[in-house]
Subunit: 343 residues, 2 copies
């Protein structure tokens, strides 16, 4: 039996007090003396339990997943709002909350951190929060936003030396980053229907264009939402690699880039499993997230991705790799935590 | 036997004099008195023939496609360069060149127009060129750039009334628009590997979010590159439609939106044919475009999309629809031209 590890969960159902606090923070951006204090936010353990047991834990139990790598709500990171200090305060609050979740349910949730990114600010400023989350909170990974401007794409590509301080720390700690944007403040981009998928595709292409993994051979990126458009256009990307005089994608990128299974229908999952090497695919659902309904054509929740993996025509070993082995390999700190529990 | 109509071709191989002229135009942007004159551009019919017979026509003959809907090179539209007048002059030159191609090879090429879009400029300014291209040049469609800023996405969504003057003209003339961005001047986005696919996905999601086709029931958009990420994430988009209280995508969008087959590997084409209604799929290759090599794993050119359609497990009728019938329905002016020739 595999441990079923969902490598992509966010605390999308956090108690309302969190959103209320953030609203106050945003409302006082131009009037910092009125800003809410961290201590103003009161959320009890019972409130946390309630939100999880009615939502994520309920679905994990119903669908049969054991463990979720759990990070702050992606669309709420909103790094474009305010300055670095605003992001730093907000990230610290959100990360602490996910840490509390993991403490309340140590067998079901393992935390991953959001970073206090801010557009135009050197990414070095995120290192302290990353260190705290790994060393004090037991985080096993981070979410890295390639576009902290929220849909204006003002940051340099992920291959730029701008990002290297974070990569150095990731390599030192042996933690991967999920490359995940946040809410779009650009009216052209719907957040979960356009910005997320465009960012996934863009991040992959930035890596394809450069040679980042020559500088960081052990750096690992998890590209969510099944890799955006990449698996569907695998031939296009292979052809682009040839034009750019790069090796085949498998050699050039796939020792360092991984895709999750947040693709919400069977044909999409089948394509992912068909074209992307098995070792590069990690089980995930991102529930409760972008789509929350039951597909009237299947009778399952759209984001119940375990159904699609179960129905896929791949070997038991391949399924085991997707559910557990690949994730333990990509997240060595998770693996160590599990081993310490005898798992 | 079907007529094999490639609905997505650009004059990517135009004589070098064209690029040279454009370079001069760009070099003199701040010094208009030195700008090159339209009359300075000299391209002979023989030069046009040469570029086509060594390239597009050669491949059309080898691969067995009969007719290409042919528009100016997409990445060269570069609407972000200069002001409206710069775009107007450039569009007129490029459209005339495609018209000449169609006159030289009336059985092989049918023109579609680029528009003289310019960021921030009302789209009404494009109507005159559109009229000229349809009435004088026999164009059967247009390319509409949803992001004339070239990767900064400063225009309103396609559902915004900003775009309505073009839609009114499209409806009047009964011509579709291929929604196609141009080169990216944003270093975050590789033009053909990120910006194109992100734009395709974004355009679809803009339409999903709105109710544009209630205002224009006969408006037709062709989304290139197999619809970007859309077919791979068909479940996600169906789920998003439910959350947004829209009807199923087939009802909400698929009387008005069509995808081409510019997907450069068999599994991608198979997915497209599996999830998208047959009536919404139009044959295309976009050769000679983003990828130009032979896939070492298949021995075929990546962009020889006819190979993938031929190998697909769909009926002869479905193939006929993709090769010919759907395109004649989406491009009624092409259909009329073909009928006038007894085809």
């Amino acid at each position: 039996m595999s441990l079923i590890i969902d490598c992509h969960g966010h605390y999308t159902t956090a108690p309302k007090a969190l959103a209320d606090w953030r609203e106050k923070q945003i409302a006082t951006l131009n009037n910092p003396s009125q800003a809410p204090k961290v201590a103003d936010l009161k959320i009890s353990d019972d409130e946390i339990r309630e939100t999880l047991e009615a939502n994520q834990l309920k679905f994990m139990n119903e669908r049969g997943s054991d463990l979720t790598i759990f990070s702050p709500r992606a669309s709420f990171m909103a790094h474009h709002i305010g300055d670095y200090q605003v992001s730093a305060t907000w990230a610290a609050i959100c990360n602490e909350l996910c840490y509390r979740v993991a403490q309340l349910y140590p067998d079901r949730f393992v935390p991953a951190a959001m970073l206090p990114q801010s557009p135009g600010v050197p990414v070095e400023t995120c290192v302290a929060e990353l260190e705290r989350c790994v060393n004090e909170y037991g985080n096993v990974g981070i979410n890295l936003n390639p576009d902290p401007s929220g849909g204006h794409w003002t940051s340099p590509p992920l291959t730029d030396k701008y990002w290297y301080p974070i990569y150095e720390k990731m390599v030192e700690y042996d933690i991967p980053a999920m490359v995940h944007v946040s809410t779009s403040c650009n009216p052209a981009f719907h957040t979960t229907g356009a910005h997320y998928l465009a960012a996934d595709t863009t991040a992959f292409m930035q890596c394809l264009t450069g040679d980042l993994f020559k500088d960081f051979p052990s750096l690992r990126f998890l590209i969510p939402h099944g890799g955006g458009a990449v698996p569907y256009h695998w031939g296009r990307f292979r052809g682009l690699a040839m034009i750019l005089k790069k090796p085949e994608i498998e050699e050039h990128l796939m020792n360092n880039i991984f895709f999750d299974t947040c693709v919400y229908h069977q044909p999409g999952i089948d394509l992912l499993l068909d074209v992307v090497p098995n070792k590069n695919i990690l089980f995930a659902s991102e529930m409760i997230g972008a789509v929350r309904d039951i597909d009237p054509r299947t009778g399952f929740y759209f984001d119940d991705t375990k159904q699609y993996i179960e129905a896929a025509k791949i070997s038991a070993q391949d399924k085991h790799n997707i559910y557990e082995a690949n994730t333990r390999r990509v997240f060595p700190r998770l693996d160590a935590q599990l081993k310490a529990k005898g798992l």
